[in-house]
Symmetry: C2
């Protein structure tokens, strides 16, 4: 493993959910967004909303960025050149989600390099209609993901990840043996348990239906947590399709 200030900032990064009162400076904000803008892109499809109104920001963070897939702005540019958007919305969203996420990750790491913490809010697409009203978004702008940013008020360990050989595959995707899956799960679960992650945040995904809770903070860990999320929530795409439609995007044709 080679280490330099850039790699070091990345491998030490962890999401922060408790913030100090101190507000990052305008210069910091501009620096972070400019660093975000230089991420490679396909169509510059991302625009960024900011609020410093702490009362409406989760986790009492001083800054909230909202990354949007913005076709509106591109369509205005195209109009000025006598072109019309032809690309279908599904492809546009794929390109736009990538553009927005590349920019967002630059901002996460740029913020970290300035001593700031951050945390993504994954529920953003399901809040699209509310965000549209809050920021007066025109049609063809879709709020994809939000990021709280501020000075961290907690000291956190680096979180575990799947082993490298469970993530990087050279020339051929492997057939996983039982041992490899167990080992990857063990590393994630023992890692999170050793850090008392879920006890610290005092959160377990509740069980739906007739399932009886058999876990506590001594054995509830990452693989159980994500299994409950992906195994219980968002069975239908209806809600997301409705939010996309309200923003003027139609992916099903």
């Amino acid at each position: 493993m080679i280490v330099n200030p850039v790699i070091n900032t990345m491998i030490k990064h962890k999401s922060v959910r408790k913030y100090k009162d101190k507000v990052p400076s305008d210069d910091m904000i501009q620096t972070i967004v400019r660093a975000g803008q230089q991420a490679p892109f396909s169509y510059q499809l991302c625009s960024v909303l900011l609020t410093r109104n702490r009362e409406e920001i989760p986790e009492n963070a001083p800054l909230l960025f909202t990354f949007c897939v913005d076709s509106h702005r591109l369509e205005l540019v195209m109009e000025h050149r006598n072109w019309k958007m032809i690309m279908n919305d599904l492809s546009l969203l794929f390109f736009g989600i990538i553009d927005a996420s590349l920019m967002a990750e630059n901002m996460v790491i740029a913020a970290a390099s300035l001593g700031l913490g951050s945390c993504f809010l994954g529920n953003t697409p399901y809040q699209a209609e509310k965000i549209v009203r809050r920021y007066n978004l025109p049609s063809r702008v879709f709020p994809l993901v939000q990021l709280t940013v501020g000075y961290p008020a907690e000291e956190l360990p680096v979180r575990p990840r799947f082993p490298l050989d469970f993530t990087l595959f050279e020339d051929s995707y492997p057939v996983f043996g039982e041992g490899e899956i167990d080992e990857a799960m063990r590393i994630m679960d023992e890692g999170y348990l050793a850090q008392d992650y879920y006890r610290y945040y005092n959160y377990m995904v509740p069980l739906s239906g007739k399932k009886v809770e058999a876990y506590n903070f001594d054995n509830y860990s990452w693989t159980e947590h994500i299994s409950r999320k992906a195994g219980q929530w968002l069975r239908s795409s209806h809600k997301l399709l409705v939010q996309l439609q309200k923003c003027g995007f139609k992916v099903t044709s």
Copy 2:
């Protein structure tokens, strides 16, 4: 603008399309992927394919990474905990495209910090079936975007971006005035023209139908380029839906 080694690496980044013969070391590759893995994620939905077989890599790069939205691996983990994937594929893809892109951008910047260049290949989703065969991908793994990586064999300037006030909006999305749109377009177009970008790559998007070419490398620039791409290509989502289906993803229900 605050500058430190991290910000500096980001704001100086540009995509590279010509590479030296020299191959990055195993240590570099592992460092870059490890830095990628520490990006924040929702479900660790990204897996990464690598090939060093130069003959099949565009731009004669020594390394080609393919970032995949990998539900297969997550489903195996869930199976080991007696859970089944319930989340609809559209939501899963949204989360997965974000996870994969966050990881990819960390890898771009980590590579840059080690003196390596890189370039995204945006056509990947439309090549999914071919990539599935090449890497023996199981169902429920979707190749999202590819990245060439290697030692740069060209010295390139930093590419222009939209002005900050055309990208970052505090508290309310603006109604753009004609002047602002013109100014943003001017900055992009004059910036790319000053760098002779399209002449250097000797490429203009061809016009379809009866449109007559009225541009040359003295006036063809970024806003015309993206207008032609978004204004002529991918009118139907059919191709992308087919590729998704071939990988076991169904977004329309």
